[in-house]
């Protein structure tokens, strides 16, 4: 079954939880390039994907969130972009059980397009092309463009996907609440985002990260009010991070996450998972709740 057929089957796709916080838990130091671990710590990367598949994820994301040229440039790893993305995909694929999926993660550049910044549309698009090519070659089932905040930038990523592969893609932005509804940091409304992604033929449209499952429920309702028919993707983080005895903790336990999931499921998402601070236990609980509903 292809990823598109799986989504069309109307059965909820269970995604994975966080990659970044799992890497930190396994020794990644802040300031290290996470994508470099795709070739330097392959067993750990495979282990993270395997732990999500074991917990019940139907699809896991590759460790390639920052694998664009513009992101890797900051670490002087631009020349290894193809390799880091290729192996990022291969690590996850190597532990993928039959019938499950691996989705190539593509995150924003962290830089601004003209006229607000100095990156041209061409540079921005090219920065994503290498990710798309490498992961298509490696054999991913689709892409997830995640935590974008600029509609023009996500369009560059979509161009890169469409011109270099035939694979489907999920589009996800990160929103916060404002007096005029939810907006991204760049001022994109849910309506603008949904309309643009429908015309771009995104397989799933939604949001990840943000500030916990309760706020994600409010946001999901706004997505639903904009469109009753879109295939919605929701990946909440485990609440706001705080310090506890010098260690960074997230406020939402797997239990808390699961106890609010029914409200999230009432909005009829097509795919759910977790973002920062969520781990395989969150996913196991999500699966339990979905199976009992």
């Amino acid at each position: 079954m292809t990823l598109t057929e799986r989504i069309e089957s109307r059965k909820i796709l269970i995604l994975d939880g966080a990659t970044g916080s799992e890497l930190i838990a396994r020794g990644l130091i802040a300031g290290e390039c996470p994508e470099l671990w795709n070739i330097s710590h392959t067993e750990i990367i495979k282990d993270i994907s395997a732990s999500y598949f074991a917990a019940g994820s139907d699809a896991v994301l590759t460790n390639t969130f920052g694998g664009s040229l513009l992101k890797l440039r900051a670490y002087n790893l631009e020349s290894q972009a193809y390799e880091l993305n290729f192996w990022g995909a291969r690590n996850a694929i190597s532990v993928k059980p039959e019938g499950k999926f691996v989705i190539g993660s593509i995150g924003p550049s962290g830089l601004m397009l003209e006229p607000f910044g100095d990156i041209t549309y061409q540079e921005m698009t090219d920065s994503f092309v290498v990710q798309v090519k490498a992961m298509t070659d490696a054999g991913v089932d689709g892409f997830m463009l995640e935590t974008f905040t600029d509609l023009e930038e996500i369009k560059c990523a979509i161009c890169a996907v469409k011109e270099n592969s035939d694979l489907p893609f999920f589009a996800s932005m990160t929103f916060s609440n404002t007096p005029d509804g939810h907006k991204t940091m760049m001022g994109v409304s849910v309506t603008d985002f949904v309309e643009a992604m429908q015309s771009a033929n995104a397989l799933l449209v939604g949001s990840n990260c943000g500030n916990g499952i309760l706020k994600m429920i409010d946001l999901a309702k706004e997505f639903r009010s904009v469109s009753a028919t879109i295939n919605l993707l929701l990946k909440a983080n485990a609440g706001e991070p705080h310090l506890h005895d010098g260690v960074l903790c997230y406020s939402e336990s797997p239990e808390m996450f699961a106890s609010n999931l029914t409200d999230l499921l009432a909005i009829s998402p097509s795919a759910v998972g977790g973002c920062c601070g969520t781990n395989p236990e969150h996913i196991r609980r999500i699966k339990q709740v979905i199976e009992t509903v």
């Binding site: 970044g20 962290g110 607000f116 005029d180 706001e240 310090l243």
Partner: protein, 222 residues
């Protein structure tokens, strides 16, 4: 108020950098902050008056809209660019001492973190409100901040972090500063932060938006 100053203030608020800049579309072809500031000086308006009556209020209005969720990063960035275009005409008067800076603000993104959109915004806003800003860049180690305090004992320190993984490095930096300078003013900011976090790591002040940082600095010299 003087008509020129009003226009300049609006150019800053709207992000109209200069006559040639295409943004905002509604102001196409009009003079921008660059030209208007030059004209104000030529008209004999004191640089301090230009700063206090046009630039700071213009930036303050867009900053307030941002805090209220009615303007977003692009509008803020382009307004800050317009502000900088005007400020370059005022800078010689700071150097000559005719206009006094309010103080020195040293800012950097903490070690391990390479994100600078937020840090740059805050730096531009604070520079625009009349402070000398020393930008230490991204991935800044504690020693660099200590060195800056050594050189500018009265400076205010600003720490920025975007990632939950790097915000913990703020604590390391604050601790190292506190060990030598227990009462030094340290501002912290960044998406994953909170007042609670600021208090726990022993920083002086947290603001969820740049305008809050500007206002804190104003109070600190009042």
């Amino acid at each position: 108020m003087n008509e020129l100053l009003e226009k300049l203030s609006l150019a800053v608020e709207s992000g109209k950098i200069n006559k040639l800049s295409p943004y905002p579309p509604a102001m196409r072809g009009l003079d921008g902050a660059d030209e208007l500031c030059q004209q104000a000086l030529e008209a004999g308006i004191k640089p301090e008056v230009i700063l206090n009556d046009a630039l700071i209020p213009g930036m303050g209005r867009i900053g307030k809209k941002f805090s209220d969720g009615k303007a977003f990063v692009p509008e803020m960035l382009i307004a800050a660019k317009a502000m900088s275009a005007a400020l370059k005409h005022i800078k010689p008067f700071f150097t000559s001492g005719e206009v006094k800076r309010k103080g020195v603000f040293v800012i950097g993104t903490v070690m391990g973190d390479l994100h600078d959109i937020g840090k740059n915004l805050v730096a531009m806003m604070i520079e625009g409100s009349g402070w000398e800003v020393i930008d230490l860049g991204v991935d800044v180690k504690p020693e660099k901040f200590l060195e800056a305090i050594n050189q500018h004992p009265d400076c205010v320190i600003g720490l920025s972090a975007l990632l939950t993984t790097t915000m913990v490095n703020m604590e390391t930096i604050v601790k190292q500063i506190r060990a030598q300078y227990p009462d030094h003013k340290i501002l912290v900011g960044g998406a994953p932060l909170s007042h609670d976090f600021c208090k726990k790591i022993g920083a002086t002040f947290y603001s969820s938006d740049p305008q809050g940082a500007v206002e804190f600095l104003e109070r600190s010299v009042a």
